[in-house]
Point group: C2
Chain length 462, copies 2
């Protein structure tokens, strides 16, 4: 796929709309597009925004090259003058958004793109592809990390998803706190620690399990992880400790009743003097299974399929909607569709997390300056009256949107690994602010309400 | 991601296993790996193999370049001499497999890779990534095509999945009979017809819906598809026909109760003289919803999320297992693990589809020469006895495995679009052979049994 530019990662209709708008003289109208989702999947307390760093790179690279233009010409869907225009395309607008790693809730405006219609509309498909995919993985991965209660998690799902999606999935997993990945491309591109030792095929390659373990331990040292469920777990554990000695790094269980086996293997290892040998578990794990295993003597997990496929919810349903645009009068106007079940709220929005004593209480999504002003009036009135809840004094409003691109330029360009580390830190801080406990279990109500009315937001604290 | 070679789309443990096997002298043992899945998701009658063409390209490109090797050295996981060996890597073995587009069932050996351990083991991750992803999309897409009963389907899910997965998903959708895609990269790379006209943002950009329709119809001609649910469907349909005349190509419904609206819109169009204007529907459709809509006057569907995310089953669970390898005695030996719930059947397998009078009856997966011979003996005995079922005479055994790579060389290299067209034809023929009717509904039992015993297979026809 090396011949594909990010500009072709786009739906045809973006280009036909551009052509029609150019003919009609509306292509240069200033527009505000917002990315948000209408709801969270049942049981999810929060979503995790991931992919913003990749979006910034995709926007910077968004150009139609000669091969792209030749292909577009061959479709017959666009006129020559439109193709000439596309040849000059680069994004010149502004982008604001939540920091990567930040949490989101229904209607959180995680990204805002401002520019002319013809300049901003083209980005829709690639922006949504990236944010939907990466956030889908991050949103379930964060739950897995919480369920693991500090035990390290290895991402190992690459073989269950598209080969390039695998790299982005490993990135999203690391962002939410996974310790490492099995995926070498993710290791190379994002400097995520790579992990992995051996598979069943390795044991089967040898004439005996003992030969296989001896070969692995010789090559990789006693600190390696030995896979013990190819034939008989107990006998494999005995063989491994016999060869490696009590310094054996870890044994891996990949099948059967993990809960029952963990205890037996721990006892066996201890009885053999291998008291510091760790036990790791893999095999169709997800946050629910990890939660069930919390009392077992397991020291780490490898998670694949359920992580990289988003745990049943592969995309958060992010949409890219026009919320405000210049009219014939030259003024900006909020716009919204009235489609059944899919109505949108017009106007560009300001977003804050209301935090009381370090704990997140509400997502404020205020459409337009008027609502922000109303909120500030109410807040001031409460403070002046002196009768307000003592919480007021401990309240802060954390602005969620930061400038990302200004006049087409990335404001703080960073190398991919540095962006990822920053996002990992942001995620940890925002999750801590939410104050959820692992003991609450994976599922629950949405953690904080999304408030779109300034006066209502002020009342929350009363 | 342009710096990533297919060789890095690999799990670290493939390389550590290779190093350990080289030290132990087993790396050059001849091996047979097979790709198969243990089961189909509940309700699925069959799976569709997709991605084989992409696998062949990935194998041909599988090389470690200097940047890859520098990264691998930086991990400290591999020794210098191993890296030197990897620098020379290219696949030199043989690959056999089901033709792309072919159906598969539990334990169908859809791909067989033969080579030395060190040569064949490295391909596991990228082979599985591609086959799992593409087959996941194709398997649900085929059901959608059946449910649509000849009405054309547009793939439009790119925005819901990783940007590169989107291209492969469009390819898989076309393979199973989708008419077109919204994805330009898929159009460019695979010559899939690209489709699409306008979004809600286009209507909202204008001061009135009438202005928007006029602009679109002027630019794209009366044959275009107009989106009519931004404000009020009835008034939008009237406006569009008024501007375009009765030659309006199509109207698109994207929200609300599609069944109720379809009839009303058809009546309205007919009353306005637009009797040949088509109605297309989009919006969270899948095979079940399309099935429910079968009686409505809808002329085509656009399908996104549920298609590209595999309809709740994103990967068929393909695994890449060592089933046979050379032993210390220089002979080949079947091998299998005994892990609980995950036991494998040793030996390379021959696979045939038993077809009676043009209709598929069973999947024969015969492990080893002995089972194939047993089956042939039984078959011959039945024919000689003259007492056999008359079906015998109408029975054929269609070999499912064809040679794909010989000594590292692609046997019939083709350009990507040609491979895709061949797979589309194979799929249509194999699905016809299965003889399922659209009226059976999307879900059901597995269509044909997988038989692994030669004598049992012969008895099926009695």
């Amino acid at each position: 796929m090396d011949t594909v530019t990010s500009a072709l990662l786009t739906d045809l209709y973006e280009l036909t709309m551009l052509e029609a708008a150019r003919d009609a003289g509306t292509a240069s109208r200033r527009c505000v597009f917002e990315v948000f989702t209408r709801s969270l999947p049942a049981g999810r307390r929060y979503g995790v925004l991931a992919g913003t760093g990749r979006v910034l790179d995709a926007i910077a690279d968004f150009r139609f090259d000669d091969a792209d233009l030749r292909y577009l010409a061959s479709t017959g869907a666009l006129r020559e003058d439109t193709l000439d225009h596309l040849a000059q395309y680069e994004f010149t607008g502004d982008v604001f958004g939540y920091q990567e790693g930040e949490l989101f809730f229904p209607n959180s405006p995680v990204l805002r793109i401002e520019g002319t219609f013809e300049n901003a509309v083209l980005l829709e498909t690639v922006v949504l592809s990236i944010l939907n995919h990466d956030s889908g993985v991050a949103s379930v991965g964060s739950r897995m990390v919480t369920a693991a209660r500090g035990r390290p998690l290895i991402e190992m799902g690459g073989r269950r998803v598209h080969e390039d999606a695998a790299i982005a999935a490993a990135r999203a997993a690391y962002l939410v706190g996974f310790a490492s990945t099995s995926n070498l491309a993710a290791g190379a591109h994002y400097r995520i620690p790579a992990a992995g030792t051996s598979a069943h095929a390795f044991t089967l390659l040898f004439d005996s399990e003992e030969d296989a373990f001896r070969a692995q331990l010789t090559a990789q040292g006693a600190g390696t992880t030995v896979l013990v469920d190819t034939y008989d777990v107990e006998s494999a554990v005995r063989t491994a400790v016999e060869i490696a000695g009590p310094g054996l790094g870890a044994v891996r269980l990949d099948s059967g009743d993990l809960a029952a086996q963990a205890g037996r293997v721990r006892e066996l290892l201890d009885s053999l003097g291998a008291t510091s040998t760790r036990i790791t578990a893999t095999g169709d794990l997800d946050e629910y299974r990890v939660e069930e295993l919390k009392g077992e003597p397991l020291d780490g997990y490898g998670i694949g399929t359920r992580l990289v496929t988003g745990g049943g919810h592969p995309a958060p349903g992010f949409v890219y909607k026009l919320v405000e645009r210049e009219g014939a009068d030259g003024q900006m106007h909020p716009v919204s569709k009235r489609s059944l079940d899919k109505a949108t709220l017009g106007a560009g929005k300001a977003a804050y997390r209301m935090v009381v004593g370090g704990q997140a209480r509400a997502e404020l999504v205020l459409p337009g300056e008027a609502e922000v002003a109303e909120f500030e009036r109410e807040l001031t009135a409460e403070l002046i009256s002196g009768t307000s809840n003592p919480d007021w004094a401990r309240t802060s409003l954390r602005p969620l949107q930061v400038p990302l691109i200004e006049a087409g330029e990335d404001i703080a360009p960073k190398r991919a690994p540095a962006r990822l580390e920053a996002a990992r830190e942001r995620h940890a801080a925002s999750l801590a602010e939410l104050g959820l406990a692992a003991d609450d279990g994976p599922d629950g109500e949405i953690a904080i309400p999304t408030l779109t009315d300034g006066a209502e937001a002020a009342r929350v604290l009363r």
